[in-house]
């Protein structure tokens, strides 16, 4: 039963959101034109000279672009691999702890870093990895020369990967813990009667039980291979490690906004988001095929 006043009310509800989307989502999309111009703020988009694909050609010829791309992929893929591993191992181990109170307390602690911003955690990370910090103190005890982690092109990426995994592993484990709680306890009892030891039970029951979740999370991570983590790197990097830590997102911010090369910044940003969208749509497709799950 369609009533006219219902239609009016529903349109009215949509109105404020649509106006805001029009201004702050759809209007900026026209700004993409700048990627094909030599944009000059004094002339505006309408009167700036067209340059065709020049910005994109320049981007590929830039000496830094290869390095920035490699940095982005290396850091992002490193984070995905290590975090998947650590998160699953942590979830499996936590699942073996039967003391409810201890389990809850541990969960409360390990979820916490996820809710703190990188602005705050940057100080924490600098403290720990500083020349006289605890990590170097341990190295010294082992007779290893102290390392300038935050200023070393050899070590900085590893610091980024490890600290990012540290921030997220606890919270990331939630999805696996949910999957683990869905495994039928009867299976374990049956396996125990058949004489399967603890390790065998984890291998033959627990892991297959959470395999769909592992697959889904891995597929959904696909778009993240371009997402090396702007907030973390922006708050931790310094000119000394620019060579190994500068990623697409930090580059776009610096060149596009700080140095005001609007056209070049927009061009790089555009290419990055197009690849990002393709990756996201593919992840959605693959997930739908493999696990029957879709985001949209």
């Amino acid at each position: 039963m369609k009533r006219k006043k219902d239609q009016m009310a529903l349109h009215l509800m949509m109105l404020p959101g649509m106006i805001l989307l029009a201004i702050f989502s759809f209007t900026p999309m026209f700004g993409i034109i700048m990627a094909f111009q030599n944009y000059m703020p004094a002339r505006g988009i309408a009167k700036s000279p067209w340059v065709g694909m020049d910005n994109f050609i320049f981007m590929f010829q830039m000496p830094d672009s290869k390095q920035i791309f490699i940095n982005t992929i290396t850091i992002a893929v490193g984070k995905i691999i290590l975090s998947t591993f650590v998160t699953i191992v942590f979830a499996l181990l936590l699942n073996e702890i039967k003391n409810k109170f201890m389990k809850r307390s541990i969960q409360t602690i390990v979820y916490l870093p996820n809710f703190l911003s990188w602005v705050i955690l940057a100080t924490v990370v600098v403290n720990i990895f500083s020349y006289e910090g605890p990590i170097n103190a341990v190295l010294e005890m082992l007779g290893i020369e102290p390392i300038l982690f935050m200023a070393s092109n050899k070590w900085f990426r590893s610091v980024l990967i490890v600290t990012d995994v540290w921030k997220g592993f606890g919270y990331g484990a939630i999805i696996y813990l949910a999957a683990l709680s869905g495994i039928d306890p009867g299976l374990y009892e049956a396996a125990a009667i058949d004489g399967a030891n603890r390790f065998k039970r984890v291998w033959h029951i627990t892991l297959p039980g959470i395999l769909p979740t592992i697959m889904l999370v891995t597929i959904m991570n696909l778009p993240n291979v371009l997402n090396a983590g702007f907030d973390q790197i922006f708050n931790l990097y310094n000119p000394l490690v620019m060579e190994t830590a500068d990623i697409i997102d930090t580059w776009v911010y610096r060149v596009g906004l700080v140095e005001r090369q609007y056209s070049l910044g927009t061009a790089v940003g555009l290419l990055r988001s197009i690849v990002g969208i393709i990756l996201m749509l593919s992840a959605n497709k693959i997930a739908q095929k493999v696990t029957d799950y879709r985001i949209f």
């Binding site: 649509m18 209007t27 026209f30 602005v119 100080t123 949910a178």
Partner: protein, 293 residues
């Protein structure tokens, strides 16, 4: 338990406890370290003696913060931003998600709106064009620059839309027969049912607004108007812009560390206050978070 714990079981238990315990401590100790530094004597901090307990316990850095006008100004701006941002986000969230949850049979233009929302979710003009729009609307340097560009929380709209679809049809039909308008039905019938989803979204929205430092960095040019996270981010900048390794170490060591740590602790307290309430919603939060990006 069916089987008796064998010796191997006990050894395995110990190993599990050690690993899980170490991981938990790795999350707790760095944070305790910051608190300890903030409560320690400058000399002990400079000499890197402070671990997880304060040395030369004193609260002078907290006393100094008490009189720091800029710190409290930024704190106030952050609070105002959370209040305004949350009200705007939740209002638009409910108003947008509700019509979208209707079937195209009931709401004739549902499909058009839905495709607009999905389009906005997938594509964006990017950082620079958005900056230019905000700039040309003369919103730069106002608190609205931090709130309006993200006013419609698209990921959460989809989440709440699905929650609305889960509301039993019979409830709605009964209300319609009573002659209630869509506004009344939304407020009286639908909102009470989706309260848990709204609560989860509310908490995660608060954290998002409180933690965001970046929009102010882009849109606020007068540093006196920075919210707290951007203010603290600026404290770190002098460290990240040094090019000489020795100088970097030196700067990290100077005595402002106790003061900066105290600022970090105070800025985290509001989060710790809502943290216990969030525990209930962690699982649904995963969903909120995953569609948000």
């Amino acid at each position: 338990m069916i089987e008796k714990r064998a010796f191997g079981g006990i050894v395995a238990d110990i190993i599990i406890w050690i690993i899980v315990g170490a991981l938990a401590l790795s999350c707790l100790m760095p944070l305790m370290n910051i608190v300890a530094i903030s409560l320690s004597d400058n000399a002990a901090v400079s000499a890197n003696l402070v671990n997880i307990f304060p040395i030369g316990f004193n609260i002078s850095s907290y006393q100094e913060i008490m009189g720091d006008k800029q710190f409290w100004r930024s704190f106030g701006i952050s609070v105002l931003r959370v209040v305004l941002g949350l009200s705007v986000n939740i209002t638009l969230l409910v108003l947008t998600a509700y019509p979208l949850s209707k079937s195209p049979k009931f709401f004739a233009r549902q499909k058009v709106y839905m495709s607009l929302v999905l389009f906005a979710m997938l594509f964006s003009g990017g950082l620079i064009p958005t900056f230019m729009v905000v700039n040309s609307l003369k919103l730069t340097n106002t608190i609205w620059a931090l709130i309006l560009p993200g006013a419609v929380p698209l990921g959460n709209v989809i989440l709440l839309m699905n929650a609305f679809r889960g509301v039993p049809k019979s409830l709605e039909e009964a209300a319609m027969i009573d002659g209630g308008s869509q506004w009344v039905i939304l407020l009286k019938v639908f909102l009470p049912v989706v309260k848990p989803t709204l609560a989860a979204v509310t908490l995660f929205t608060i954290v998002g607004h409180w933690n965001d430092y970046f929009s102010a960095l882009v849109y606020i040019t007068d540093t006196a108007n920075y919210p707290l996270q951007t203010y603290i981010q600026q404290l770190n900048v002098d460290i990240t812009e040094v090019t000489d390794p020795d100088k970097l170490e030196q700067l990290a060591r100077i005595s402002s560390r106790t003061l900066n740590s105290a600022k970090i602790v105070v800025s985290t307290i509001p989060l710790l206050m809502i943290y216990p309430f969030m525990q209930k919603y962690f699982v649904s939060g995963i969903v909120v978070g995953s569609v948000k990006e």
